[in-house]
């Protein structure tokens, strides 16, 4: 099946490579988000990598999301932003709770930083995805 529809270029070549590259982007972005407190990276770059990988999948026609699922993405994005707000407002209390279980130089370190990285990365990635969908696909 080949065809161009509303900015989507869908051939078997683009679909196959988008599956591979989108998965790579997903894994790399989640790695960057999870290791934000240890290595260069964090919520913004990790979220941008995940969002661009998923956007590539969307653009190459490997997935055809319904419009209702985009509404669901908006809800998830808002929940992630709300979670980030809660994490940052309660940072002081959260830090003292988390620090007893954590150790330096491990992935489960970071405390508030790790949680805020994850929430911010989720928000940024879904935001990038919604941006690609609304600019290119619609």
């Amino acid at each position: 099946m080949t065809g161009t529809d509303k900015g989507i270029v869908s051939t078997s070549i683009t679909r196959t490579s988008a599956r591979i590259l989108g998965l790579l982007g997903l894994v790399t972005g989640i790695y960057v988000m999870l290791h934000g407190h240890l290595s260069p990276g964090g919520g913004f770059p990790g979220g941008a990598i995940v969002g661009s990988g998923l956007g590539l999948v969307l653009l190459c026609g490997a997935l055809y999301p319904e419009r209702e699922s985009i509404e669901g993405w908006h809800v998830v994005k808002g929940l992630a932003a709300l979670g980030l707000l809660l994490i940052i407002v309660t940072a002081v209390a959260l830090r003292s709770v988390l620090l007893s279980t954590q150790e330096l130089f491990s992935v489960w370190g970071g405390g508030v930083t790790l949680l805020a990285n994850l929430a911010g990365g989720l928000m940024v990635s879904i935001g990038m995805l919604v941006l690609v969908y609304s600019v290119v696909v619609e």
Binding site: H37, G43, K77, A81, R95, G109, A116, V130, E138
Partner: protein, 115 residues
């Protein structure tokens, strides 16, 4: 009648001007009091207390050995929250505009196709 009305208006505006001046002077007094209190409580500008604190205690306080990340997401969390808010509002705006454009174009297509 008209003169009376304008007279009352002028009288009111004069009273209002006095009130505004009073409020402004109170505001200036409050701000100068804040500046004096700030200089009494906070270390003077150019003092490196914050940077030394980050260097000494950053890793131990946040358990995030990447100090850049600990400063961006923990010490300056509200700043980052504001950045995220800007991004969020921008994305919502783009989604709303594109949705409105799409609904406009579909309505036009329906109007074209209806007769």
């Amino acid at each position: 009648m008209r003169r009376e009305k304008s007279g009352t208006v002028e009288k009111n505006s004069g009273k209002g001007r006095v009130l505004v001046l009073l409020g402004l002077s109170l505001f200036v007094f409050y701000c100068s009091w804040l500046v004096v209190a700030y200089y009494q409580v906070i270390d003077p500008f150019g003092d490196r207390t914050a940077s030394i604190h980050y260097l000494d205690l950053g890793a131990i306080e946040t358990y995030s050995t990447n100090l850049v990340n600990s400063i961006v997401w923990d010490y300056r969390g509200y700043d980052t929250l504001g950045e995220e808010t800007v991004l969020f509002v921008a994305i919502v705006g783009v989604a709303l505009v594109s949705r409105a454009m799409r609904e406009n174009s579909t309505r036009r297509m329906e109007v074209d196709a209806s007769p």
